[in-house]
């Protein structure tokens, strides 16, 4: 590894995010971490499936969910996955400004998703009295969807911190792996949402 970490278009390696041992370690470490996260969410999905009909006299999933809102949320989050791919594409071309732009759009889409989710939760609580405490179904629903929302929140904070920190110095071999691990994490959160959408909302509406 060279002592000078700055990247110039003419000397830049093919994959700056994996050009150093530290970068490779971060990449691999995040993949392993996501493996653990899979078990984490699987446990929550299992709990949810076991408790989804335990409404204790409260509203059921058919009465609660509106697929229109969830559809918009899904579009926002899946699009943010695409924009983070664009950001990584520009990172590999060493175009820092465009990378920042697409990361910014990714963060905005994430914030939009989060806003709608907060609206959704408050709607359930105020209109239906459906809370974390009202039934086992409520507990399991808010735990699963809330854990996902928490992951989205963490991802948004992460990328904003990275963007601000590196705004003035551009890409180098030290921070390229950081952007890359963020992008992997973000994709993963989107994949989890696909399962949440299917298992919680679609199956909740028809199952």
């Amino acid at each position: 590894m060279s002592h000078d970490h700055s990247l110039y278009p003419e000397t830049m390696p093919q994959n700056p995010e994996k050009a150093t041992l530290e970068g490779k370690n971060k990449f691999l470490g995040l993949w392993f971490f996501l493996g653990g996260e899979t078990v984490l969410f699987a446990s929550l999905f299992g709990t949810y499936l076991a408790l989804k009909d335990s409404t204790a006299g409260g509203p059921s999933s058919e009465e609660l969910f509106g697929l229109e809102l969830v559809f918009i949320m899904t579009v926002l989050l899946l699009t943010s996955s695409l924009t983070s791919v664009y950001a990584m594409y520009h990172m590999r071309n060493n175009d820092f400004k465009k990378m920042q732009l697409w990361l910014g759009i990714t963060a905005l889409l994430g914030i939009g998703f989060l806003g709608l989710e907060i609206y959704e939760f408050s709607h359930y609580i105020t209109e239906y009295g459906f809370t974390f405490r009202s039934s086992a179904f409520g507990s399991a629903f808010y735990a699963l969807v809330g854990f996902h929302g928490g992951h989205v929140t963490f991802g948004i904070c992460w990328i904003i911190a990275l963007m601000i920190r590196n705004a003035r110095r551009g890409l180098n071999l030290y921070n390229a792996p950081k952007f890359n691990t963020y992008s992997l994490y973000w994709h993963y959160i989107d994949v989890i949402w696909v399962f949440v959408f299917t298992v919680v909302y679609l199956m909740g509406k028809v199952g």
């Binding site: 002592h3 470490g29 086992a136």
Partner: protein, 618 residues
């Protein structure tokens, strides 16, 4: 930091060094010290349990205190003693065995330790604050939800923090083995202990998140009024049992697989023979790990999952005996025809084989779902899991400490005292637990604080307690041995056992902080042994002498863990007094701030210059 700076230091500098270290060898010291402390604590709890059961209807401790003792004995021994000591041994030996200078994430390594330490302290603070948790180490929800006071809350918060640390350790070891192996160290040339570390880390990675979620559910129910386990609102307490054992069964393999690896190395070293069936040993380890995830419901045969589920899990359980049997026979075959040297480390390994095999056989008996209805919740189960955890894990830990003490501290433990420890512990162990099989078959239930007179249980319990005293004596001798060795022990050479693997190929004992000046070139299994048999005696360097990149120390892991510790107290007490929200949010904010500092401040590490090595060599 230069080489000269590592010479002589005052106590303050020494303390600061350990608080900020990211060196895997020093983190190993920390893990062993922390785990050792909790091992003594758990041992004292065990002796108190045995004194209570020394005679019928004893009133040495109250029923409530007895519940706290058994809960804390189990929780402490598994989460705060055995696992950290194992992580300590892994830290001490694994990076050296693959010829690396450090682990993949030195900062994370340190954070993992401090999270464990603060989690353990938080859990044990319960003794002084509100009474310890009393729902058993399994903390089944029906019982835990009913437990008054804050005991179970301490269990939840303490284990959550310690568990996060373990998960980090697991990810760190996985990446280290994949990316940091020295030139020529292919997967199938790795020592068995490294293999076991790798596979154990996979188990940690996939098992611990289930516990994380389970603890969250219990926390939400106990502290924030949710209804996961509240049957009146549609909750289901069996969810706890499933999630607990989905974590808990792999956990017992997390406790034993590293020692399987260690014993393989020890048998091979002290028989002066290549390990018999290396490939079979590797794949048997993988198979055990894989099957370990498929058998959790054998802890729940009596729950009523139905005959089909019970049969499937019973068959899967008994299948584990096959790879384990492969291992036992391979160890025996390794010694067969070797020039076996019996010292303290080897004694523990030899004692392990019959002890663990007995535990394995009772495991197969318990795996039979029909018979399990008879054994369930009796002392037969207690005897079984102590035979595998003490006869396997604790024997292995002692073996590993004797074997790697030179690697850890540069001295060899006293052999005479080591042998005395082994024999008294070995005899005491079998005295304590063998008789418990029969107590269990005669119907003595576990976790009861008294038993009645003249039911055929009196003599058995007395013998069992006497055995516990033998084990206590053995541990005290071991402690004296440590002090004696530290004060009077002779300096060990770099390769005291005529070793075969790379941890013995460094220039001194203990190894220098950069491990290897030049990374060694591995030419096959047992790389050091190959060089010895071919007359060279030392490793060929795989690279020219050059600058060595080293990570910077950091105080942030300690501070982050402290933040979570304070937040944990906040979580526990906010149910009584809203003011505790300050601790909750304050602790979280502080930990988050430390994370942001870590993220924002660049940490490029430093280089030991080639010239420094050359100067030192002159």
């Amino acid at each position: 930091m230069s080489l000269a700076a590592t010479q002589k230091k005052g106590f303050g500098a020494f303390l600061w060094d350990y608080l900020t270290t990211v060196d895997h060898k020093k983190i190993a010291h920390l893990y062993l010290a922390g785990g050792g402390f909790f091992f003594l604590l758990g041992g004292i709890e065990a002796v108190i349990i045995r004194i209570q059961l020394i005679k019928p209807e004893n009133d040495f401790i109250s029923a409530g205190l007895y519940n706290e003792m058994i809960t804390m004995h189990g929780t402490t021994m598994i989460f705060l003693a055995a696992m950290p000591i194992l992580l300590g041994l892994m830290n001490a030996a694994m990076p050296l065995q693959i010829g690396a200078r450090d682990v993949a994430f030195p900062f994370l390594n340190s954070l993992g330790f401090w999270l464990f330490m603060f989690g353990g302290i938080l859990l044990n603070l319960s003794w002084f604050l509100d009474g310890a948790p009393d729902a058993g180490w399994t903390s089944y929800a029906a019982l835990a939800m009913d437990s008054p006071g804050h005991g179970v809350d301490f269990y939840v918060a303490g284990l959550q923090i310690a568990g996060a640390g373990t998960l980090m350790g697991g990810i760190n070891f996985l990446v280290t083995v994949v990316t940091m192996r020295a030139p020529g160290m292919t997967y199938m040339r790795m020592p068995l202990f490294t293999w076991a570390t790798f596979i154990t880390s996979v188990l940690i990675l996939f098992a611990f998140p289930a516990l994380t979620i389970n603890l969250f559910l219990l926390m939400f129910d106990r502290m924030f009024g949710t209804a996961f386990f509240d049957v009146s609102l549609g909750g289901n307490t069996i969810i706890w049992q499933h999630l607990f054992w989905i974590f808990g069964h792999p956990e017992v393999y997390i406790l034993i697989l590293p020692l399987f690896g260690l014993f393989s190395d020890v048998f091979s070293t002290f028989s002066r023979k290549r390990l018999f069936g290396y490939t079979a040993m590797v794949f048997a380890t993988m198979l055990i790990a894989f099957l370990g995830f498929m058998v959790w419901a054998h802890h729940m045969f009596t729950v009523g999952l139905g005959p089909v589920a019970n049969s499937i899990f019973a068959v899967a359980t008994m299948a584990i005996a096959v790879p384990t049997g492969i291992k036992i026979f391979n160890w025996l075959a390794t010694m067969w025809g070797g020039s076996v040297k019996i010292n303290a480390a080897m004694l523990w390994a030899l004692g392990f084989i019959p002890s663990f095999t007995i535990g394995g056989m009772t495991g197969v008996m318990l795996g039979s779902a029909v018979a399990d209805f008879q054994y369930h919740d009796t002392y037969f189960v207690v005897a079984h899991f102590h035979y595998v955890i003490v006869g396997g894990t604790v024997f292995g830990i002692f073996c590993g400490l004797h074997y790697w003490w030179p690697l850890l501290f540069g001295k060899i433990l006293n052999e005479t005292m080591g042998k005395l420890t082994f024999w008294t512990f070995f005899i005491g162990f079998h005295l304590t637990f063998f008789i418990q099989h029969f107590l269990g078959l005669m119907g003595m239930p576990r976790r009861y604080w008294v038993f009645l007179e003249n039911q055929g249980l009196d003599l058995g319990n007395l013998i069992s307690t006497i055995g516990a005293f033998f084990m206590s004596f053995a541990v005290i001798v071991f402690l004296i041995n440590i002090v004696h060795t530290a004060v009077k022990g002779e300096k060990a050479p770099a390769d005291p056992w005529d070793g075969r693997t790379l941890e013995w190929a460094t220039e001194s004992s203990p190894p220098p902080y950069y491990n290897f000046k030049q990374l060694p070139l591995t030419r096959g299994l047992d790389p050091l042994w190959i060089e010895k048999t071919e007359g060279k005696g030392h490793m060929t360097p795989a690279e020219p002498l050059g600058d060595v990149h080293m990570p910077n120390g950091s105080f942030l892991p300690f501070l982050m863990s402290l933040g979570f510790f304070v937040a944990g107290l906040g979580f526990i007490y906010q149910t009584d007094e809203k003011l505790w929200y300050i601790a909750l949010y304050g602790g979280m904010a502080f930990a988050l701030l430390m994370m942001i500092i870590r993220s924002v401040k660049d940490d490029h590490g430093y280089y030991i210059k080639k010239e420094e090595f050359e100067r030192e060599a002159e």
